[in-house]
Amino acid sequence: MLFRVVLSAAAAAAPSLKNAALLGPGVLQATRIFHTGQPSLAPVPPLPEYGGKVRLGLIPEEFFQFLYPKTGVTGPYMLGTGLILYFLSKEIYVITPETITTVSTVGLLVYAIKKYGASVAQFADKLNEQKIARLEEVKQASMKYIQDAIDFEKAQQALVQKRHYLFDVQRNNIAMALEVTYRERLHRVYKEVKNRLDYHISVQNMMRRKEQEHMINWVEKNVVQSISTQQEKETIAKCIQDLKLLAKKAQAQPVM
C-alpha cells in the first residue's frame, strides 16, 4: 500500500530532485520562485474515487499481475506460503508469546473491520455530503435572494411605466371638481340676479294694483257723489214698478 505512495512521490519529486542535484543548496535557496504566474494550486485536481485494489488487505494487485506471466494464478500464494513455512521451520521467525497476542489482536482487528467497515465508510461519505449540502444551500439561498431582488426591481420598473395613469386620474378628478365649483357658483349668481329682478317686478305689480284700486275707488266715489237726490228717487220708483211686473209674471207662471 505504501509502495504506491512511494512510487507516486518519487515521480512527482523527480524533476525537482534533478534540479536539486545540479545546484548547490545555497543556490537552490536563492533561485526559489515565489508567486509568479497563475496560482498552480487551484483548481485542485480531483481525488480518485476508489483506492488501489489490494488482495488480503495488504498486497497490491500489481504484484499479482507482475507474477502472473511467469507463475500463473497461484504463483504469489505459493510464494507467500513458502516464505512463511521457511521462516517458521528455520526459526527465523520464532513462535513467542508475542505470536499469540498477534493472533488475537490481528484477529480482533480483522473482525471489527469486516463487520463495521462499510457502515463507517458510509458515515464518512455522509459527513462529506452534509458539508457539501450546507454550502450548496447557502449558495442557492444567495442566488434565490438575488433573483428575487431582480424580479422585484423589474416589477418596480414596470410600475413606473404605468405611473401616468395615476396622474391622469388625478388630473381628471381635479378638473371635475373645478367644473362642479364653477357650475355651482354660476347657479348661485343666476339665482341672485333672478331674485333682484323678481323684486323689481313685484314692486311694479304692486304699484299698478295700488293705482288701479285707487282709481276705482276714486271713480266710485265720484259717481256716488254725482248721483243727485232727484235721480235717486226716479230710479227707486222705476225699480219698484219693474219688481211689481216681475211679481205678476211670477205668480202667473207656477199656477200653470
Binding site: L47, P97, T101, A124, K131
Partner: protein
Amino acid sequence: MNENLFASFATPTLMGLPVVLLIIMFPMLLYPPSNRLITNRLSAIQQWLVKLILKQLMSIHNTKGRTWSLMLISLILFIGSTNLLGLLPHSFTPTTQLSMNLGMAIPLWAGAVIMGFRHKTKSSLAHFLPQGTPIPLIPMLIIIETISLFIQPMALAIRLTANITAGHLLMHLIGGATLALMSISTTTAFITFIILLLLTMLEFAVALIQAYVFTLLVSLYLHDNT
C-alpha cells in the same frame, strides 16, 4: 525469562542508531493534512472526531483557557494514536517509557500552575484550603494540599506509564501461558486464549481512555488556573 519479558520495552535501536525518534514521529503520518474542502474518508472522519473532542473538552474553559486548545488536541491525538499503534504486534510504544510521560506531564502541569500563580495569585493560593475546614486542622491541611499539588505531575506520568506497561505485560504473560498450555491441554489453552481476546479488547479501550484521562486532567488543571 525475566529478560525476555521486558525486552519489548527496551528503547529500540537499529544497529546502534536510536530509531525511537522515528517511532515517536510515525503517528504524524496517519493524520494527512489537506488543502481541500472535501477530503477522503479518513480525513473526513478525523476532522469529525477532532471537532467532537474539541467541543467536549474546551467547553468549560474561558477565552484564556481556550488558547490551549491546539496543545490539548495534539496531546490527546498523540497519546491515543501512540497507544493504539503499540497494540500491533512487535511494535514499540513510546508511552511505556516514564521519561517521555514525565516530559509530557511536568511542563504542562507546571505551565498551568505557574500561569495560575502569576495571574490569579489569590485564587491559586486559596486552592490550598478547602472551604469550611475547622480552624485547628488548617496547618495540616495546607501541608497536605501542597503535597497533593506537587504529586499531580507525577501522578499524571506514572498513571499513563503504569497502565500501558501493565497492559502490554499482561498480554505478553497470558500469551506465554497459552503457548505453554497448548502442548499440555488444548482446552485450557483455548480458554486462556479467550481471556486473551477479552484482554485485547480491554487494551484497545484502555489505550483510548488513558489518552482521554491524561488530557482531561491537564484540562482540569488549566481550568483551575485560568
